[in-house]
């Protein structure tokens, strides 16, 4: 039986539209409040670039001020720590943050290391040094921590993700050091990593405009972001324009900071698009650079362009 050409084309277009142009599956998120402004006083920011939640407290990378600030969920300033420098506990452009095992992990971009602090802000130790060898970094952008303490580090300029044990010893890596690529398991300036309760980890594959999902044993099992998830950027739902931060929510959903589109996109663990929300920016700067999700589903966004924090809630 011959299938009419127009039917074949229509079917292909329909399937492509379902796959590449998904619709919103949830009621919209609501902006509850924003706080912060440009400056270096407590509660002010100079380019916030990372965010993490611990219990009822929020940690923010205040990048050009070379410090970490903490807030309650209503935006009330709690404390700050860190200062500019290369010494132990000092910071050079802190980027994406992670809280795990009652510790704060900071990707220290300028100093090529991950620094670990107590949640009160006392320096514990640094992991890594500048370089391209095992356990070395060239501008780490983000870190995730497994239940056993292993670190998964987005090693931005080395074009790889490294797994290190809790003492910083190299275990393995994904991606080829110093080489970009668009195939599964390759990276184009990875910016962040997030790990789910079951050990699945998700990589924000920055300039490939996609997310790559790895099983706990390290196999890539899915990637998404635009047609074929191969560095095709755009502003449609489920597409990205430079992925700069990633977080796993309490239900296992994946929240992605889609920087040049000024939004956060929410996906099921299998990459199915659910929702998107954000605040527009005034060119040439952009807003949503990092995202964190509280246990009650509240979403906090580091807003780079406006030097502020956005607080969003799902519709009741």
């Amino acid at each position: 039986m011959r299938v009419p050409l127009f039917l074949l084309i229509a079917t292909t277009l329909f399937l492509a539209s379902c796959t590449w142009f998904p619709s919103v599956k949830e009621p919209p998120y609501k902006l509850v409040k924003t706080w912060g402004e440009y400056g270096d006083a407590s509660g002010q920011f100079n380019e916030p670039t990372g965010i993490a939640v611990s219990g009822e407290e929020l940690f923010v990378s205040d990048s050009r001020n070379a410090r970490i600030q903490t807030f309650d969920f209503n935006g009330n300033f709690q404390r700050q720590f860190g200062k500019s420098g290369e010494g132990a506990g000092q910071l050079g452009r802190p980027m994406n943050l992670t809280v795990a095992n009652n510790k704060l992990y900071v990707a220290d971009y300028f100093n090529d290391r991950v620094q670990i602090y107590t949640l009160q802000g006392q320096f514990i130790r640094a992991i890594g040094k500048a370089g391209a060898g095992p356990g070395e970094f060239n501008a780490p952008g983000g870190v995730a921590v497994a239940e056993n303490g292993d670190l998964f580090v987005a090693d931005f300029y080395n074009q790889r993700v490294q797994q290190l044990d809790k003492n910083g010893s190299f275990i393995r890596q994904w991606g080829t050091s110093g080489e970009t690529g668009v195939w599964a398991g390759e990276f184009n300036y990875p910016t962040d990593v997030a790990i789910a309760a079951d050990g699945t980890f998700y990589v924000a594959d920055g300039y490939n405009d996609r997310v790559q999902a790895f099983s706990p044993n390290g196999e890539v099992f899915h990637k998404w972001g635009g047609p074929l998830a191969m560095n095709i950027f755009g502003s449609f739902s489920g597409w990205f324009a430079t992925v700069t931060g990633i977080s796993v929510g309490p239900q296992g959903n994946v929240f992605v900071a889609d920087f040049y589109n000024d939004r956060v996109q929410k996906f099921k663990p299998d990459g199915e698009f659910l929702n998107a929300f954000g605040l527009p920016a005034q060119e040439p700067t952009h807003t949503a650079i990092a995202v964190a999700v509280a246990k009650d589903g509240t979403v906090f966004v580091a807003d780079y362009a406006n030097h502020q924090i956005q607080k969003w809630r799902p519709s009741e």
């Binding site: 971009y109 300028f110 501008a139 931005f156 300029y157 040049y260 040439p284």
Partner: protein
């Protein structure tokens, strides 16, 4: 005579000040809005010998690099530095400070 000496002294002081002030390179580069990129360039440049400061004009897509007295960069050197940071140098200009 006194006037001549004074004039010579002023001229000498002016020229020394001019020489000591170094110069500024303006580098036009696309894609500076993302801090992962901008910080990468800044990190690369600020650790280069002779560079005193790096500033960004995002509106114009320009990086301004101040260098010290007697420091000179060729276009190919700057292209390589910018390329190492993952960017392409579109154009550049140099101005004395």
């Amino acid at each position: 005579m006194k006037k001549s000496i004074l004039l010579a002294a002023i001229t000498l002081l002016w020229s020394v000040t001019l020489f000591a002030a170094g110069s500024q390179y303006s580098l036009r580069i696309d894609g500076l809005a993302c801090p992962f990129c901008a910080y990468g360039i800044e990190k690369k440049l600020i650790r280069t010998e002779g560079v005193e400061s790096v500033a960004f004009d995002l509106e114009k897509g320009v990086v301004k690099v101040k260098v010290g007295e007697g420091v000179v960069f060729t276009e190919s050197q700057l292209k390589r530095l910018v390329g190492d940071a993952g960017f392409t140098l579109r154009s550049m200009s140099e101005q004395p400070l």
